[in-house]
Symmetry: C2
Subunit: 168 residues, 2 copies
C-alpha cells in the first residue's frame, strides 16, 4: 500500500488511486497463481457444463486489462479482440500477464483523482465512468477466477487461498 | 446512482460512498438472481469437486454482510457464525437476503467519508480498513457467485447475465 499518502488525504477519500491500483494488482497476482495451478493441458482444454476452458477466460482478461487501461489513459479507442497470441503455451500466457501488469502500473500514473468520474465508452461499446470501468475489470476477473477454482477442485487440485494476494 | 452529489465532490474522489453502496447492492441484486435461478433441491445439495453447495456459500455471505456492516458502524464485535436459520427453505434465504439489503442501506448512512480508512478487526479476526473490508465482502461474494454460475451451467441452467445488476 502507498505509505507516502498523507492521513489528510486518507480521511477525505473512500479509496485512494494508489489503493485501488494495489487492490487490482493484488487480484491479478492471485489470478496468476490460479493460472499456474492448472496443468498445462487442462488450462487449455478442461471445462464444465459447456463453459470455456480457463485459458479462454484468461484471454478475455488479457484483452481487457492492458488495452482497457491504455484506452482510459489515451482516449484512443482500443479494439476488443479475445484473440491472444500465446500459441497455447501457459508460460507465454504468464509472460503476457506480466507485461499487462507493467502496462497497468505505467498507465496508472497518468490517471489523476479528477479523472475517475470521466465518462468513457470502452472498446467503443461499454459506457461508464473510469472508476466503474476499472471496477468492472476487477469484478469480471474475480468472477471468472472463481469459476477457475471450481475447475481446479473438480480436477482434484487445491486452488490458492482466496485472500492470498501477495507475490510469491 | 446518487445524482444529488455535486460534480465538485466527484472530481476529488475515486469513488463516492453512495457509489460504493450502489456498487455493492448491484452485486447483491445479481447474487439474489443467481439464488433464484437454482432449483430448490440443487441449491441445498448440488456440488462439484467436493465443494460446498451454493446455499452454504450464501450462508457465508449472509453471515458477513449484515453483521459486518453492523460491526463497522457500531464498533461492537460481531460473532462470526455461518449457521443461518433458514431451515433449508430458499424463500426464507431470499427473505434474509432482503433483510440484509435493508440493514446495509440503513447502516451505510452512518458511515462518513472520513471513516473509510479507520482500522477495524472484523469478527475479532480480520484486520483492515473499513474500505478494504467492504471491498473484501464484495469480492468474496463475486468469487462464490462465479462458482454458483458453474454449478448452474453444469445443471444445464443458464445463469443471469453478469452485468445485469438491476432489480427485476
Amino acid at each position: 500500500m502507498n505509505t507516502a499518502v498523507s492521513s489528510t488525504e486518507k480521511v477525505t477519500q473512500v479509496i485512494l488511486p494508489a489503493e485501488l491500483l494495489a487492490h487490482w494488482q493484488g487480484h491479478r497476482t492471485l489470478t496468476r497463481k490460479v493460472i499456474e495451478a492448472f496443468p498445462e493441458k487442462d488450462f487449455f482444454e478442461y471445462s464444465i457444463g459447456g463453459m470455456r476452458p480457463f485459458s479462454k477466460m484468461v484471454d478475455e482478461l488479457l484483452s481487457i486489462a492492458g488495452p482497457g487501461i491504455q484506452e482510459i489513459v489515451t482516449g484512443k479507442q482500443a479494439a476488443f479482440t479475445e484473440e491472444v497470441a500465446h500459441g497455447n503455451s501457459k508460460s507465454k500466457v504468464l509472460e503476457l500477464w506480466d507485461e499487462a501488469t507493467e502496462e497497468i502500473n505505467t498507465n496508472w500514473t497518468k490517471i489523476g483523482v479528477e479523472n475517475f468520474h470521466e465518462i468513457i465508452k470502452l472498446f467503443g461499446q461499454y459506457e461508464g465512468t473510469v472508476q466503474s470501468s476499472i471496477l468492472y475489470f476487477i469484478d469480471n476477473e474475480i468472477h471468472h477466477r472463481g469459476q477457475g477454482y471450481v475447475y481446479l477442485r473438480s480436477l482434484g487440485i487445491e486452488p490458492p487461498m482466496f485472500w492470498d494476494r501477495n507475490e510469491l
